[in-house]
Structures are given as structure tokens and as C-alpha cells.
Symmetry: none
Subunit: 210 residues, 4 copies
Amino acid sequence: MTGRNETASESPEKRRAILEQAIRTFAEVGFRSTDVQVIADRAGVGKGTVYRYFGNKEELFWATTFEVLERLERHMFAAMEGIEGARAKLRAAGLAHAGFLDADPQYLEIFVQDRAEFRGSHPESHQRYHEKLIARFVEIIEQGIADGELRPVDARETVLSFWGLLYGSVVHSCYAVHNYTLTELTRHSVDIFLKGIRAEVPQYEKEHMK
Amino acid sequence: MTGRNETASESPEKRRAILEQAIRTFAEVGFRSTDVQVIADRAGVGKGTVYRYFGNKEELFWATTFEVLERLERHMFAAMEGIEGARAKLRAAGLAHAGFLDADPQYLEIFVQDRAEFRGSHPESHQRYHEKLIARFVEIIEQGIADGELRPVDARETVLSFWGLLYGSVVHSCYAVHNYTLTELTRHSVDIFLKGIRAEVPQYEKEHMK
Amino acid sequence: MTGRNETASESPEKRRAILEQAIRTFAEVGFRSTDVQVIADRAGVGKGTVYRYFGNKEELFWATTFEVLERLERHMFAAMEGIEGARAKLRAAGLAHAGFLDADPQYLEIFVQDRAEFRGSHPESHQRYHEKLIARFVEIIEQGIADGELRPVDARETVLSFWGLLYGSVVHSCYAVHNYTLTELTRHSVDIFLKGIRAEVPQYEKEHMK
Amino acid sequence: MTGRNETASESPEKRRAILEQAIRTFAEVGFRSTDVQVIADRAGVGKGTVYRYFGNKEELFWATTFEVLERLERHMFAAMEGIEGARAKLRAAGLAHAGFLDADPQYLEIFVQDRAEFRGSHPESHQRYHEKLIARFVEIIEQGIADGELRPVDARETVLSFWGLLYGSVVHSCYAVHNYTLTELTRHSVDIFLKGIRAEVPQYEKEHMK
DNA sequence: AATGAATGAGCATTCATTCAT
DNA sequence: TATGAATGAATGCTCATTCAT
């Protein structure tokens, strides 16, 4: 009765409002610099309510991360819906990834904060979720290999490379004077990536996907 | 160059000692959580001295970032020394990058902290330095294109993709259960990357670089 | 009598349950550190109910104190039942006091908390109750004097001394490494006390009460 | 360098000022209710300075307790100076005890708070100090027994009873409507106590010490 | 009548920065 | 020049109390 209440007696709207403002605030000033009071104020609830719903700042942040991860996943898989072929799927996923973060740069900052503050040590639930996400991509790669569309690479390694490419391009892009949008840059990165894992290389002309 | 005191009257050893312990400490606990007193203690100087040499915590961190960036650059270009061919150079640079961070994971954390806390808004000096770094790679790519070794990609975009790939693979690797070292994963990523930008694709057998 | 609601419509069992858990909790962690929610949980009622029955934390504590005081009084007077002679009565009361607190150290902590937090400023009802208690002992002393059993001391002063001795021995005992139980120590204290107020001193041998 | 500094670099005046105001404040509102900021303000130093000198609130309180205990001890032993005879010494000690707390009731509250909050679990240093104090009284009792002045009681038990009597009388006195000063009440208590441990009982007339 | 969700005042503690020595 | 004592703003978290249901 006293502890955390995941079960009932919570207002989903309040939870949602807090989470939304948590995303916004963590993204704006970073995990450490975020004052929980600000989140509460922005969400229009008392500070105690934030703690009631999420236990402490760290757990709130994890809930935030998880939420963003879920949204990103939904966005990517929605983009892959109905797409045939491993390369085309990866391409769609990559562009969806860029589009997602391009549309709302807050999300990117959440991931960056997550990595910076917690170095990948997350609650069990996060780990599992991430694993599942990777597994889905591994499957795509393996199907591509089986179909002869991709050369016989190590599927898991390749997925990690692919995610690294997506994440890195995006995160790192801040260091360059931007003449490109994230999406444009990602299109290029993915293009390079895909051509490299193709089973055969036809004439470039045919391949240009732009 | 980075700091604020050109006043001479400074001991290079002290500066060096402070910087070294700043790298260590920022890497260990992050920028926000770092207590300047700890750096001072570890460096064997008074806290006031740290402020005398570096002005404030933020500037100290930037000096730290700059130092690490310089070391990484030296490491990468040393690895490219005497290497012929654009692809071979990129390959060497990529592996040097991984090796550098594999050997001393502190350095990686500095970059991560930098990105998380300052989102790429650095002092002028950093920006310039970064631009110069990119330029050197652009040159390599363009030479590769001119030699017909690489297909005619946009050089700058490609450099950014390449750096993104390196950075992302490394930073993101924490999310996967590690069966690979950073270097192994990077070898794979670079392999994929390079095959994608090759002018022509010969038989895979010859190409396997592992 | 102690609380504030005469409104009827209250369940005596609930009141009893809350009180019992209040004793337990105040004793365990002290008045200030007690979380009313814990009392409510332990008593199996809602927090609001605790407030309904007792008004606020302070009044709840006073009800607690009162309850414990009543139990102690009952215990002491039960022990004096049928005992003849002032000295024998005081002796019985002292040992009952020690036995009461020895059997349930919670009770002691309630008194200690009471003294520490409220310095003796209690509601009217408590004062009156206390006065009545003292009066009963004063009567015993005066009877003893009248009977020639006790020397003609100031009765009220003596009662206060006696209570002080009992209370002090018990509260203070924590400062000594315990080789004695509370009861043993009290036996000794009371022994000393009694021999001092006796009207005449016979041979020690006969007097040794242990 | 970073941690607590018992050694040098501290101003004794500041330490003294903080301690003095800590006594005052803890006595006034109790340990839990004390806001360290108030102590700092009253002592005319920054809050950080309080933490610099005493580490945390609890340690500050222990320092406070220790200080008061030392003062009490000095006061009592000064009063026993030059007094001959065990009974006379105990009598002097008892009256000094009462006089000390009568003169400055703050000190009493410190002891009460101590007991209430920490139930006798003190740092090693306190335990040792307390033991030493008891030992000095044990010695007095034993000497009195050896001299035939006191009957052959258990010395340690008796010391504990005596302290209990002193402490209890004082602490408990708040429950009675005061017509007596602490000192008067203690005089009576000690009187009773002493007559009880005398080796022989002469005519009461001669003995009346009032 | 009973509940427990919501609230926000309150407080311990940390740490960047200053400045007197 | 070098130092480190002093400072107080900043912030996570608790919990007594209220009140809508």
C-alpha cells in the first residue's frame, strides 16, 4: 500500500503528463541538471506526485528512456511494414530512425543522456527489450542471407554495426557544421552500408536509390 | 590555447598533472558528478590551483576534451603513416580509433560526456580543430576517388558517415552483451563500410580482410 | 477523553488496533521518525482513518502515552494488591515497574520519547492523571509515616524521588554495559531507597531482601 | 585533505561557537527538529562550515553530547574536590549534578535527546568516557566500604542506581507541578539514598543534613 | 464512515567558486 | 604563486495533512 503502485489507483493521464515533461526536461538540460520540481511544475502536479508515480529521479529517467525506446521501435517497425527484402527493410528502418530523431531532437538527447549517465547499465527490463529489438534485426539479416540478397556476414555483428552507424551518425553530427539534415546524412550512411553487404554489385546506376 | 591564462608563470608539470587527473575523474564519474576537489587531490595540488590554471570546471573539461581529441588524432594519423590507398588508410584509421578506445576506455567516456553535457557547443578552438580533422579525411576520400579506388561519393558526407560509424559502434556497443571486443566489432563495421564505397567489387574471397 | 471525537460512530477495535501499532511504531523509531502511513498499514486501516480517530500525529502520540501510562499503573497497583505495609508496597510497585518495562521495552521508549519531544507539556488530562497517580503514592507514604514504619519525610518529595529513581535507573541503564537485568538493578535501587526511609534500622542480616 | 579535519586548519573559536549554538538549538527543539541552518546562522558561519567542522548532523550532535558530558564531569569533580568521606562526596556530586542542570536546563535536554534518539548507541569514544566516569564513582564507593563508612553493597550496581536516581529525578521532575527546584528535590533524593547505604544508623537528629 | 491520492513545505547535504593569507 | 577555509545556492526526497470520492 505504501510502496510503488504500478497496479491501480493511478491516473494514466497524470502519468503520461509527467513522462512527457520528463522527456522534455531531461532532453533540455540533461539528467543531472534536471530539477524534479521543474518536471512537476510543467506537468502541473505536485513534486510528491512525481515521486509517487516514479519512485525517484533515476527510475523516472529509466521510464523516460523506455518510453522513447518504445516510440522509436514502433516508428521503425511501422516504416518497415509491408517492405520486402532485407536491404529495403534496413533502409526503411534507417530512414525512419533518422526521421524520428529529426522530427523530435528531444528523443536523441534522451539516448545520449542515458549513455552518458548510465553507461549501459539498465534495469533488467531494458536489457531484455533491447535484446528483443536486436533479435528482430538479426532475423532480417539472416533472412536476407538465406535469400541470397546479402553476403554471408555475421548477423549479430552486422546488426550492431548498423545500429552503431545510425546512432553514431546522429549523435556525432553535432560536431560538423550542418549543411545536411539528419535524414540526408543517414540516407548516405545507409546507402554506403547497404552496398557493402549486398551479395552482388550490379551497375551503380541501377542501384542509386535516391 | 584553450584555457585563459597566457600569463606564463605556470608550471607545465602541474598543468599536465591536473589534466591527467581530470581525464581520469571526468571519465570515472562524469562531468556533473565530478568534484573538482577530487581532481585537485589526485593531482597533488590545491583546489585553488586548479582554478588558477583552468578558470572553471567547464573550461577544465574543455581542456580535457581537447587533450583527448589531440591524442586520438595523433594515434590515428600515426597508424595511417606510410599506408597507401584510401581504403587502406581508412581501415587503419578505424582500427586505430578502436584500438585507442579499447586500450583506454576513459577516453571514450570523455567524448560521451562531452556530447551529453555540451551537445556540440564548444569553444571556437574546438570547432576549428574538428574541422581540420574532417578536412584531412575529406582529402583522403577525394584522393581515393581521383585514383578510381572509390566510387564518386560526396566526400564530406562520407567522412561524417565514417566517423559516425566509428563513434556509434563504440558508444552503442554497451547495449549489446559483449562477445566481441571493440576492435573486433570495428573491424567488421569498417569492413562493411569499405566494401560499400569501393569502386568495384571483385570476388569476395580476395577481399576478406580478416 | 484524550482524543477529539466524541462523535460516536467509531469502531473500538479499529481504535485499539491503531493505538497498538502506534505504540509499536513510536517505540521502534521515535516520534519524529514515525511515518503515520506505517501505523495505518500495520493497523490495517487507511491513513485517513488514523486522522479521523486521532486528529493528528501529536494527539495520536498523546493517546499512546496515556494508554501506556494506564497499563503501567494497572500493573503496579495490581502488584500492590493485598500487600501490607508501606515499604512492602513501594517495593512491590518498584519491582512491578521494572518488570513491566523489562517485559516490554517498547513501553519504556514511549516514555522516553514523550519526555524528549514534549518536555512534560501534556494535555490537561495527562496532568490530572499523573497528579492522581502521585497522590496515591503520597497516601501510601503518609500512611507509612503514620504507622511509624517510615521516618517523617516530606511525602510528595519522596514520591517524586522514588519515581525518579525508578525512571532514572531504567532509562539510564543503557549507558552501562549490561550484566544486570532491569529488574535486578531496580531491586538493588529500591533496596537502597527503602533502607533509607525506614524509621529504624535493624540488623542488616535480617534485612537483606535479595 | 578532503575529509574531516581534526588536525589543523580549523579555528577553535569557530568550532566553539558552532558547538555552543548546537547545544542551544538541540536543547531548544530537539535533535530531529533542529535545522542545521539555524545553528549556522546563530553561530555566524555558513552552513557549509558546520559540515566542514563536524561532518554531519549526527556527528555534530555527538560532539555536543560529549561536550556537555565533559562539562558536567568537570563540575561534579570540582565539587568533590577536597571533600572527605564517600557519603559526603556522593552528596556533593549529587548536588553539583542538580546545580549544573538547574543553572542551565539546556544541558539536561541534551541528555534527554541523546537517550531518546540514540538509545545508548554511541561512538566508541563516548562509551569509553562513560565507563571511566563510572569507574571513578565505583572507586569512591569501594573506598567508603573499605573505610566502614558504607555497608558492603555491590559498588557498580550502586553507582548505576545513584546515577539513575540523579538522572531520573531530574528528567522526571517535569511531570510534577514544580514547587521545588531541582536542587531541592535532589537534596532530598540524595539524602534518602545516603541514609540507605550507611554502615550504621545513628540518631536521625544528628543525621539530618538539611 | 473510510479511504488513499495529491500536495508542498521542510531539511540534510554537496560542491563550485572566491579570496584572504 | 599557491593554497584551502569559508560560503550558500541548489536539489533530491519525505511525510503530515487534506479532501474528493
